[in-house]
Symmetry: none
Subunit: 205 residues, 4 copies
Amino acid sequence: MKQRIIGPEAMPKLGMAPIRRRQLIDAAIMAIHDHGLADTTVSKIAARAGVSAGIVHHYFRDKDDLLFETMRFLLEDLRRTAVERLGQARTPVERVHAIIDSCLADEQFAPEVMAAWLALYGQAKHSPRLLRILSIYARRLRSDLANALKPVIGPERVKAAAEGTVAMIDGLWLQYALHGGPDDPEFPRRLTRAYVDSQIALGRA
Amino acid sequence: MKQRIIGPEAMPKLGMAPIRRRQLIDAAIMAIHDHGLADTTVSKIAARAGVSAGIVHHYFRDKDDLLFETMRFLLEDLRRTAVERLGQARTPVERVHAIIDSCLADEQFAPEVMAAWLALYGQAKHSPRLLRILSIYARRLRSDLANALKPVIGPERVKAAAEGTVAMIDGLWLQYALHGGPDDPEFPRRLTRAYVDSQIALGRA
Amino acid sequence: MKQRIIGPEAMPKLGMAPIRRRQLIDAAIMAIHDHGLADTTVSKIAARAGVSAGIVHHYFRDKDDLLFETMRFLLEDLRRTAVERLGQARTPVERVHAIIDSCLADEQFAPEVMAAWLALYGQAKHSPRLLRILSIYARRLRSDLANALKPVIGPERVKAAAEGTVAMIDGLWLQYALHGGPDDPEFPRRLTRAYVDSQIALGRA
Amino acid sequence: MKQRIIGPEAMPKLGMAPIRRRQLIDAAIMAIHDHGLADTTVSKIAARAGVSAGIVHHYFRDKDDLLFETMRFLLEDLRRTAVERLGQARTPVERVHAIIDSCLADEQFAPEVMAAWLALYGQAKHSPRLLRILSIYARRLRSDLANALKPVIGPERVKAAAEGTVAMIDGLWLQYALHGGPDDPEFPRRLTRAYVDSQIALGRA
DNA sequence: AATGAATGAGCCTTCATTCAT
DNA sequence: TATGAATGAAGGCTCATTCAT
């Protein structure tokens, strides 16, 4: 999170846009972690990225745009991980575990990431764009989970099981987001898998 | 928008402090819901309460103080409900249900309350005072839950069961906080109770 | 300066005006000493006097009025002392010494008094009322001094000697006002008397 | 009222700091003269300098910082003049006269400068930073004066003579600061030199 | 006479944004 | 591309003043 993409000594004039945008998004995540969303200013983000405040508006329409892109980055990063792991899963249960493991992956417990997600949650209701991408992500997660559970749980119980699993994932994550990451990051994953297993056992019967 | 909480006919000049403080706390909750914490200003809160912006500083040291008291009000309100319901519970399982039902009570799904809690969560990491009262509340909840589960679950499984239950409660609540309150507020309570029951069944064996 | 005129337990309803006014003037002097004129507020003055802020406007038109009366009090106090001492003086030289001794009397080196006088000086140019009473006082002082010197100094040198004496008085006082009262309050008086004596010696020749 | 110090044709965007700082210090002196320290606001200073109020905080930490730098400017300006004139003086008496002439130089009787010095005096007791630089200046002045007087006055009388001279300088200046600059700016210098001469005459004997 | 509640104006300061270089 | 200067709009907070009690 803190390594520089390229050194400050070599600044090619072309193709900087994606690099700078990514730099600024990283800086925004760090600034939110350091100061909280309410106290995150354009200047602080720019300082974190090692650039001047003015340049931010060359790469993003305005502050809101930068913050929106930051939130989208978080969501897409998570989605990418989930898709990757799902691609490697072979059985239904492996698919469920892939989802759990990507939602509760080690990276999701990085303090900067947790702070940014919490900020995203707090802000979503007051930003239609934010709410929209968050809802899309949430719908996909439920859909993936339901699809994975369908083969092993009776159709009338799938929805409740999926809801419960999402709740377990988010609830565990929230604890760590509020009170500090887990000593053993495997613990929440194990707990959630156990829940799913119990649901499958129940659903099969 | 600007209706007065208490009628204009009786405006006592003495002993206004508790009335005004409560008025302003209510207004703060509404303002957070309307604009989000980051865009909640003292003026907006005062307008919501139907008073001038200046008077806020007669009753609260500063904006942070008002917001802190608002958050504390939410926490104490929840705590009060939980203590009441626990007092009426007779069996261990009733005690567990009392906790679930107070955390997922209908009032907790009021849009204003959900918005304020989300804001509290997002802000806690950047306010020692906030984090402190939130941690106290979280510790009490876990303690209550563990005590209630102890008689019916083997000691080596109590902690995991309590953690799981808290996660289920928070996770379900979070879904509704983000995507709108439940159609049937009984549903999340039923789901959580089912989880606890399965844990008890597992724990007993 | 800090003793209460009357205790708070016995509050006669009649004839309070002069007492309260004097209390508030004393409190204003102390507040100016404590906080500086720029940071002296009505509330601070009222608190110093042990009354509520609102009551100040029963005894003074507004804050400016209170401060003006405070400054006038200082000037009249000094004038009263000078008149008293002049009345007891018998010879021309005694009259000059009386003026010196009243301007550099021990009371004039009280920290509260020095702070208030400095504030008066800084404010005078921006308050016509203040400048007026200050000028009257200054004119009287020069006049008294010239009259006292006339019998012992040639008329063509009286004015310069009076100017020099006033300068010596004010200059010495200013040092103490800025850097703390004199260890030996007799020292500045002696120095000024020596100056006058040298002027008389010169003037006589 | 709003004329720019430097022409509008050349507005360099780089290296504005020293120019703007000096502009703002000048504007602060004028604002203090116009309104008095208590009524000098950042907006008034900015308006005097022909810039927006916001920009003040680009060049000074806060209002206090600007006022402090303003006061320091006055002190350093005076000190610079004194050092220059002392450098040109050849004899002990010339050195004393150099000090007198710099303290009572024509520039010191400019209304804006006098108003700012008075404000400095009134504020010093309530600002440690201000008191500190004022004390340093005062100490240097006394030291310079004592050194200059040492060769021509017996050691046991040097201190009193220096004190008296400082008092004469400050006292005369104070008269003009309060009641308007001298018709003949040479007059106070002559009077002070006469005092010093009399002290030397006395000290030699 | 005295208080505390209440207001409204104004001040300092911050900050997103624009612009000339 | 990148910067720092500059602005203007708020925001938080203070405070003198008024008023009902």
